[in-house]
């Protein structure tokens, strides 16, 4: 390594990039990003040890707006990419980000399987209940009845419930934040990143341009913090009850944390027991080779 780097305390500015986000002024994603700067500083995570992987969407532009290693992959594929990356180098902290369409629409299968698989990735979904980048079509989290460009007579489908799905899929850390409450959100990130295993943080992140229903005001009127209600996040059934709540009152905060979380995937995978893959020598020893060949003679 060419330059020795003195250990130092990270600050928000260390994560702020040179390229300014090109989201619409007022977009909820700014709050999501700022809280992430703060969380990374709080955890004191050197940017070079952080990989942020996204799909495609307004929200998925995020990796371009944070100083870290980043990947802006394919629509819906942030989680498989992040999974492969984490398994290849489990020394790095891996965060996946994206939108509701990306994660709960085209990418839904990967989302559920990633939770079952308990890969140590923190997944931040900027849920604006609309397809932003493609300029305003219905999303899996759009409310029933919602009129969008592609549902002029109102959405006929039932809203997808990411919290309940996460619980039903065995996710060990299930939280929801609101980009209008960045401090609270930051705390959810910090705990989620520290959680060993898959952590979901679904964030209400208003699309000021295309979602004229779920606005900041709409959320502000409805959200309440679980932390202020005595909710016990280690109680699975209580968490499921909260997850099903939607309407006048909508909970944000930590819904569930598995009190005895199983080891995460990289801690158990037989092939990773010899160390971090990217640092292992390539190929096999002559002895291993001859053993493998011998099995066929």
């Amino acid at each position: 390594m060419a330059t020795a780097v003195a250990p130092k305390k990270m600050a928000m500015k260390d994560f702020k990039p040179e390229v300014p986000p090109d989201w619409c002024p007022g977009c909820g994603d700014f709050g999501v990003l700022n809280a992430l700067f703060q969380a990374c500083a709080e955890i004191d995570l050197p940017p070079r040890d952080l990989l942020v992987v996204s799909g495609i969407g307004c929200s998925s532009n995020l990796p371009g707006f944070i100083r870290a290693y980043g990947v802006h992959s394919l629509h819906g594929r942030a989680l498989p990419f992040a999974t492969g990356a984490k398994l290849a180098n489990h020394g790095m902290t891996v965060i996946a980000t994206g939108g509701d369409g990306d994660g709960y629409g085209i990418g839904l299968n990967h989302f559920i399987q990633a939770m079952r698989r308990n890969i140590d990735v923190t997944y931040i979904v900027m849920n604006n209940e609309i397809y932003g980048l493609t300029t305003g079509q219905v999303s899996p989290t759009s409310e029933t009845g919602m009129k969008t460009k592609t549902t002029p007579h109102g959405n006929l489908e039932q809203m997808l419930n990411p919290m309940a799905l996460a619980l039903a899929s065995g996710c060990g850390y299930v939280a929801r934040g609101f980009s209008g409450q960045p401090k609270h959100l930051m705390k959810l990130y910090v705990d989620g990143i520290r959680h060993r295993g898959f952590a979901l943080i679904d964030v209400f992140s208003p699309c000021v341009t295309f979602n004229k229903v779920q606005t900041y005001e709409w959320f502000r009127e409805r959200v309440y913090k679980l932390e202020e209600t005595g909710h016990d996040p280690t109680n699975f059934k209580g968490a499921m009850d909260r997850a099903l709540e939607w309407g006048e009152k909508i909970p944000i905060g930590l819904l569930y944390r598995n009190p005895s979380p199983p080891p995460s995937l990289h801690e158990q995978d037989p092939g990773l027991q010899s160390g971090v893959l990217v640092h292992l020598p390539l190929g096999v020893s002559g002895e291993q080779r001859r053993k493998c060949i011998g099995e066929f003679t």
Binding site: R48, V71, P80, F81, G84, A85, D269, G271, L282, I293
Partner: protein, 618 residues
């Protein structure tokens, strides 16, 4: 070919132990220095049905499964009925006379070899599969081999159950001795040699070759005929320190593989046609973000689900057209099972050097079937070329900003392994500038956009320097040049020999690098050929079209096959003769009597009352 070869066909239903009998026989002959080429024609049912395994055995390595069986081991009546008629004078059929009886007159000169299995082994009563051991023992004798090889194989097979070893060895010996006492040996007798062979499938060779070449991440979703690559890896993950995962679908597979490749490990995945279709979008991503990844496509008979247990070479168009837009990709088709072993090493080196996806086009024939490979060819140290990869070990930081996609003269931009200090970057599937920042988000930037397309494309300029050009096999100036690609190599080599023996002077060119294409080398060779005949295992002539698109060359004739069964030397010889007689396209067909199938509803037979519902009114 001064060494005799013997082809033994073993047939039975799924569950009758065809595969294990074949394996015992193959490993036994291999331990006596014989090389084997096996072809198994089987059916997509888990139990029952018919399975027909042909082993071609010789001290000189056979390059294909041949086109004539010398001996049949019939494990059930169906096999006896189907395949007896395929034998020729001097041939023989072994069967358990306590269970089976020939129902047809054997062809002239064919020896019936009934084995009274219950008399030969008392264990038969409880273990009907003992008939296989007896028959294998008998076959060993009839080919002129010793008993020892077989005994040692049975010992290792049943190493954990010593009583079973004994029973099996005794039964095998009884079969061996009985044959010696009662049957005429085969006219062709094999000679023992001291060469060391490993009996493996192309899938196993591909997997092992990849592991030896440094594959550290392997991910797949089961799909025939590629599943066994996954199974080999899963079985060796722990001891070799390889992360092996089966995941939810092929989309996830390829994205994970690219994710792992992006971080700096050698990463591979495999599938078959339909799985490749699902992977195409991400193959374009690998092209755009310049991540090395190796994707193996083991072709089977298509289109769509097609015939999952049958072979074909019809995914070249798909590999060529995988994903939208123009981007660098490399497509290689291994030529033989040994080439399956070597190809991953080549593919990884190219993928890392050129930072692009490499597609390996193999096929069912070479990947599911067993062949012996000289162990000395396997016990090798592959050269590993990681290309311009910056790791903690070699990276220099000169204080200048790191440009992940730097517009270098070669088009290759040194790639920093994520985690390196001072080299942060973002890789995006949107068009981006040298520093990785998206160009798609600016108003328009024709100049930079073009620069980046050109940079990526330029990488391909030197690929051909790193992959040897194909060379003409056989006599220069022959009347006829047979051109093939991928797995047909072995069958073409033998067809050329036979043609020459029959006085038709022929030579042979086999292509393994399909994209980019050795345009100059191939044109040089073929423009000197008098008559080109292209042989491929598909309907439309995908390779012929590719060759014409790349070089303008048009063949005089085409021999194609798309009936599910692979080419045999005789098909090629016959096809060539038809072409010499004036045809330009010959679609050859396997027509052995043993392959006649009783169709469940009998389209070409008697219909009455058997057709799916339609005939009854609702």
């Amino acid at each position: 070919m001064n060494q005799p070869d013997v082809t033994i066909g073993i047939g039975g239903a799924a569950g009758d132990g065809v595969a294990s009998a074949g394996n015992t026989l193959a490993v036994s002959v291999a331990r006596q220095g014989q090389a084997v080429f096996a072809y198994n024609s089987y059916q997509s049912v888990i139990r029952g049905g018919h399975s027909w395994l042909r082993l071609r055995i010789s001290a000189k390595k056979p390059l294909n499964h041949g086109d004539q069986v010398d001996a049949v081991i019939a494990l059930n009546q169906d096999t006896l009925d189907r395949h007896l008629q395929e034998l020729q004078a001097g041939g023989l059929v072994l069967y358990n006379s306590a269970k089976l009886k020939p129902r047809y007159e054997p062809p002239k000169g064919v020896q019936l070899c009934p084995l009274p299995v219950p008399q030969l082994t008392p264990a038969y009563e409880k273990l009907p599969v003992m008939q296989n051991t007896v028959a294998v023992g008998a076959a060993m004798h009839l080919m002129g081999l010793d008993f020892e090889g077989l005994a040692s194989v049975l010992e290792s097979t049943f190493a954990k159950k010593p009583q079973v070893v004994k029973v099996n060895v005794e039964a095998a010996k009884a079969g061996f001795d009985y044959a010696a006492a009662h049957f005429q040996p085969l006219p062709k007798q094999l000679q023992k040699t001291s060469r060391k062979w490993a009996l493996m499938t192309g899938n196993e060779l591909m997997a092992m070759g990849a592991a030896f070449a440094g594959c550290k991440f392997y991910c797949a979703y089961p799909m025939s005929p590629a599943t066994h690559i996954l199974e080999w890896f899963a079985g060796h993950a722990k001891e070799l320190g390889i992360c092996v995962r089966q995941v939810e679908d092929e989309i996830s597979v390829v994205n994970m593989s690219i994710g792992a490749g992006h971080m700096g490990v050698r990463s591979m995945c495999a599938t078959s046609g339909g799985g490749l279709a699902l992977m195409t979008e991400a193959i374009g991503m690998a092209g755009m973000i310049e991540t090395p990844v190796v994707v193996v496509n083991v072709m089977r008979a298509g289109p769509s689900t097609g015939v999952p247990t049958k072979t074909e070479q019809a995914d070249l168009n798909q590999a060529f057209g995988a994903s939208q837009g123009d981007f660098p990709r490399i497509v290689i088709a291994p030529l033989s099972m040994h080439d399956c072993f070597r190809t991953p090493a080549l593919a990884f080196n190219l993928a890392e050097r050129y930072q692009c996806p490499v597609i390996i086009l193999a096929d069912l024939l070479m990947c599911e079937d067993n062949e012996t490979v000289d162990t000395s060819l396997l016990d090798v140290d592959f050269t590993i070329d990681r290309g311009e990869l910056m790791t903690e070990a070699n990276a220099q930081f000169d204080g200048k900003p790191y440009l992940r996609y730097e517009d270098t003269p070669s088009g290759i931009s040194p790639r920093a392994m994520p985690g390196l200090p001072n080299h942060l970057y973002v890789s995006g599937t949107d068009e981006h500038d040298e520093d990785g920042v998206l160009l798609s988000d600016v108003f328009t930037d024709p100049v930079r956009r073009k620069k980046m397309v050109d940079k990526r494309a330029r990488k391909m300029d030197t690929v051909l320097d790193h992959v040897p050009a194909p060379t003409l096999e056989g006599a220069v100036g022959a009347e006829l040049t047979l051109v093939g690609w991928g797995s047909t190599w072995g069958v073409l080599v033998e067809a050329v020999e036979r043609l020459n023996q029959e006085g038709i002077s022929a030579n042979h060119l086999q292509i393994n690098l399909l994209v980019p294409f050795h345009v100059k080398a191939v044109t040089d060779i073929l423009s000197r050929s008098k008559n080109i005949v292209i042989v491929e295992n598909n309907f439309s002539g995908q390779f012929a079209r590719h060759l014409r698109a790349e070089t303008g060359l048009v063949a005089r004739g085409h021999i194609r096959k798309y009936d599910g069964e692979p080419f045999e030397p005789k098909h090629i010889v016959a096809g060539v003769k038809e072409i010499l007689a004036g045809k330009d396209l010959v679609n050859v067909l396997s027509t052995e009597p043993g392959w006649r199938t009783d169709h469940p509803t009998g389209t070409s037979g008697d219909w009455a009352g058997r057709l799916v519902g339609a005939a009854r009114s609702v």
